[in-house]
Point group: C2
Chain length 256, copies 2
């Protein structure tokens, strides 16, 4: 008994990414770490699970208080196989990220980082997904580590509401310029997409998805987008119950 907390860690950029290394560094003093990460980058995989090909998982590193597995699946597969096959007790906390790039506003729906966190809260594990607003593989995560560690300690101590996890986004500015932490709601917005049209050497058409985020409410001070733009770390509590309760009555009347 009296064991150190068990902290499960996953991400979507793969086990080699700088973001997960920074997260491991921040979490290491707080508990025993079980890291299960994709072998390759899995950006934009959302809550996808692998059903067509077999899953493989392999132990890559082990030392006291730290074990790393890699998996050929999605971020959610990593969490599932960890919970089902690799843990020796119910984890006290699930951490995902630190993602290379924002997962604020509507991006929460596309994000493998956040889906992996949501998967944890489905199984009643307090969970936090972290993202830095820097897509670069060489992104500097040093300014994040203090905030990440403080949040880990706070959630280990206080827990989270059942069915809820945290979506934490960190602006790409020097640590000293971060103005603080704001609890926010998810901003309304979407991606204005451009499918870049090309012709392959066999004269067949193909497309690459590109796009820019459009914030539908840039002046709403209670949103994650506003907080990030103004130098704050944004924290949105995210729930896995997707029911729109306030439209239920209207819907009932419509279907009468």
């Amino acid at each position: 008994m009296n064991k150190r907390p068990l902290i499960l860690i996953a991400n979507d950029d793969g086990y080699h990414a700088g973001g997960i290394r920074a997260l491991i560094e921040a979490a290491r003093p707080c508990g025993d770490l079980l890291v299960v990460a994709p072998i390759e980058g899995q950006s934009g995989m959302s809550h996808a699970i692998t059903v067509k090909v077999p899953l493989r998982v392999e132990k890559y590193a082990e030392e006291p208080g730290f074990t790393l597995y890699v998996c050929n699946g999605t971020p959610v597969d990593c969490v599932k196989i960890a919970l089902n096959r690799l843990v020796d007790r119910h984890p006290d906390l699930l951490l995902t990220g630190i993602n290379h790039g924002a997962n604020s506003s509507a991006s929460v729906l596309y994000s493998g980082t956040m889906a992996a966190a949501m998967e944890g809260c489905m199984y009643h594990i307090p969970a936090i997904g972290f993202s830095l607003l820097d897509h670069s593989p060489e992104a500097d995560f040093d300014p994040c580590v203090g905030h990440v560690k403080a949040l880990i300690e706070s959630v280990l101590e206080n827990g989270l509401c059942s069915g809820t996890c945290l979506n934490v986004n960190i602006p790409k500015i020097p640590a000293g310029d971060i103005r603080g932490i704001r609890v926010c709601r998810q901003a309304r917005g979407y991606w204005i997409e451009e499918f870049e049209h090309r012709i392959d050497p066999n004269n067949r058409e193909y497309y690459w998805l590109t796009g820019d985020f459009f914030n539908e409410e840039p002046d709403a001070v209670d949103t994650d987008e506003w907080a990030l733009k103004h130098g704050y770390v944004s924290i949105v509590p995210v729930q896995i119950d997707m029911t729109c309760y306030k439209s239920m009555d209207k819907l009932k009347k419509m279907l009468e």
Copy 2:
């Protein structure tokens, strides 16, 4: 002017599936149809988007009031490329499915069918995702068509709240045994997974994901699971704002 409604249709089981053919049949009298469906089954892809390989899209069939494209991407890719490259006007309605298998309760998070519907409501298109509780490729969709058509007509006439789409699940029982339609909330539950462990011919381990759904609140009469179990069509209004508003105050205090 005075055009017929433009109805965009996508699914996750692929263009050849019986479910999408039933949906096309039900929707055909209600408007001009643009169908963009995956070339292969894409079950469990959730809100995944394709970023690592080029997207291809090809016209497979065209007649007055009906066009079918197939795409090598995910259900959400199908919606994105339709909106960006294939529509001649803003669609009046987006329909997805009819999925072979349930998308009730927590399955909404894994579902490509429902993600494609959510993608529509992100772009302010009223959207409905349909699922039949029968995984079989030979599932009989005839009992669904009447309910599906009635819902299409109702949503075309009345619209839906912005940022909200409908998750419609239909029990696998004869049409005459369906007791009616119930507006529900998403039941709390999760999948109890088993990763089946095997050894390949090269003596390497692999796993297949299998599992059974566990309903955490089987007696809650306002849930989709209860409705389906008791012979009703369940309709859950699903929102793309995932913020847990009721935990914001607690979180603010915790982080003070």
